[in-house]
Symmetry: C2
Subunit: 350 residues, 2 copies
Amino acid sequence: MLASLVMTSLRDDVTVLITSFLEPEHVRRIAEAGTGVRVLYDPGLVAPPRFAGDHSGRPDFRRSPDQEARYRGWLVEADVHFDLDAELAPAFPTLAPRLRWIQATSSGIGPVVRRTGLDRSGVTITNAAGIHAVPLAEHALLALLYFVKDVPARLREQRAHAWERHSTRELRGLTATVVGLGAVGLEVARTLRSVGVHVIGVRRSPLAADETTRVDEATTPAHLREVLPRSDALVLIAPHTRETEGMIGATELALLPAGAIVVNIARGALIDEVALIDALRRGHLGGAALDVAAVEPLPADSPLWDLPNVLITPHSAATVARENERLTDLFVENLRRYREGAPLLNLLRL
Amino acid sequence: MLASLVMTSLRDDVTVLITSFLEPEHVRRIAEAGTGVRVLYDPGLVAPPRFAGDHSGRPDFRRSPDQEARYRGWLVEADVHFDLDAELAPAFPTLAPRLRWIQATSSGIGPVVRRTGLDRSGVTITNAAGIHAVPLAEHALLALLYFVKDVPARLREQRAHAWERHSTRELRGLTATVVGLGAVGLEVARTLRSVGVHVIGVRRSPLAADETTRVDEATTPAHLREVLPRSDALVLIAPHTRETEGMIGATELALLPAGAIVVNIARGALIDEVALIDALRRGHLGGAALDVAAVEPLPADSPLWDLPNVLITPHSAATVARENERLTDLFVENLRRYREGAPLLNLLRL
């Protein structure tokens, strides 16, 4: 077991508990973020990461009784959590009496916050919105190019050692409808427009003046069906709410033009997966890039794995090697704001 | 056999022979480009296309003796050729006595022009530079994202039905060296920079004032080795000349950082293919996207087909469904210039 890190600054103003793996250099940056910052962190008390930026860690990790006791002692002391410990969150009212603020390390945390009762606990919660904007926008761009240039056909020919000349579509000039225009959706729009894609943004709330110039057109979910027939691509990055659950069903998929591309970097629950599989099997859709699924991990017997026009990424499109560096940037800035009583960035509206 | 199209306008000022397949709407646009334009075209006299924008056509096509006689009769009459008939070009001085100008349908035609002796024939030749800029730039972008996001690993996991969370690199912030800064190279630079790639342009001739802002840095082939160690990607789009042949050999590949990506959308002869295969096998390179090869079609026994970190596209990255529409745009504009005695676009310097 690695030695524990308990860093104490001059005044014990705020105690931060880090609840998932973080590299020593980032832990140090938090500890040195200001006088009076006390950091509670021991890599031995959290699940070992499987890759850079892994905040779930190895699923087989279990704390020993001694480790559990230490961790729970820290829960009692901490004012602030870096990452949301979803397993213990339902018991935070008794386990973490001093807890005032949780900085989550992902964006789509509405459901887990509701499920664990944190939305009724009085704890302030900030998410990681924006941290994943560039990686997710790059993934959406890759997904569109992958199907526009028909990489699956290229790879079949390559496996057959077949030099078959062909022509492809072009990305430039296509229309993409982006559902969800938060920090990520706006970055997806910016990225696609920079390569000549016409972007229709869909959001429930009206666009601010400085946001209207960031899409070519904007509409609301109520008018989604009207724009689908001219959407060569549909990119989903809206949060999972009662309103968005199942918003893309058989009707919406049928309204897309033949050969359309669906990219889901939001949550699996936004799409009727049975209808999606049907539209893919019938060849109505040109392809689907799915970073999320109705049930995750995607069950081994899901037909999605073997459909030739599907690209599966296991809820990892957002995760890049520099993830923890950026999360620490966000946390250090929010910690400064927290201590000054200034509004926090990425405040989750509960 | 389809009926032949011989369209004659009022004055027989210029006779255009179309030597490869072109859709009727584009043939009509050329015929209607001005009074005095006569178009010679019969789809039965040219090889049937295998895909939109195919200018080679089915390799098993042969004209009957009657068809050959008609085609050769047209060769005698034509002042202008739309597309370069490489097979008969060596005999143009006798077969095509009136020929003054050939509008080629591809860009990298220097070697074929030299091989067929057209460079010494006095015929003006224009190429299709720029027509393929956007498709090739999109291909380069796809290639970089494909390897940066490690799609080969994703597809291996997908085949195994394995939901393995992971992190990837980001494209934003990487450095790409683009060798060749003509119309295509500049569009590649523009596209990559629009998604946050730092672009080093390499060209023999100095950049014009309005070109210097289109790359982040510029250098000459003589200094290529100096920039390779910080090139996360190397994109080749220079013409095949004595100077560029074999310009990327074992030394240059070794200078690239581990994990670098090579994209060849120029000509196979620019790279020492044996050295490339070696660098890929040793895992020094993160990947190679090859649209061209030393010998084309790439021989069935080439090890390149089966290397997991290679993406082969059979000299087709430039070809998109709208190719012939754009070629016709270019030709109609050049035809206007030709008849007015104005400088032609894309004039090949011989």
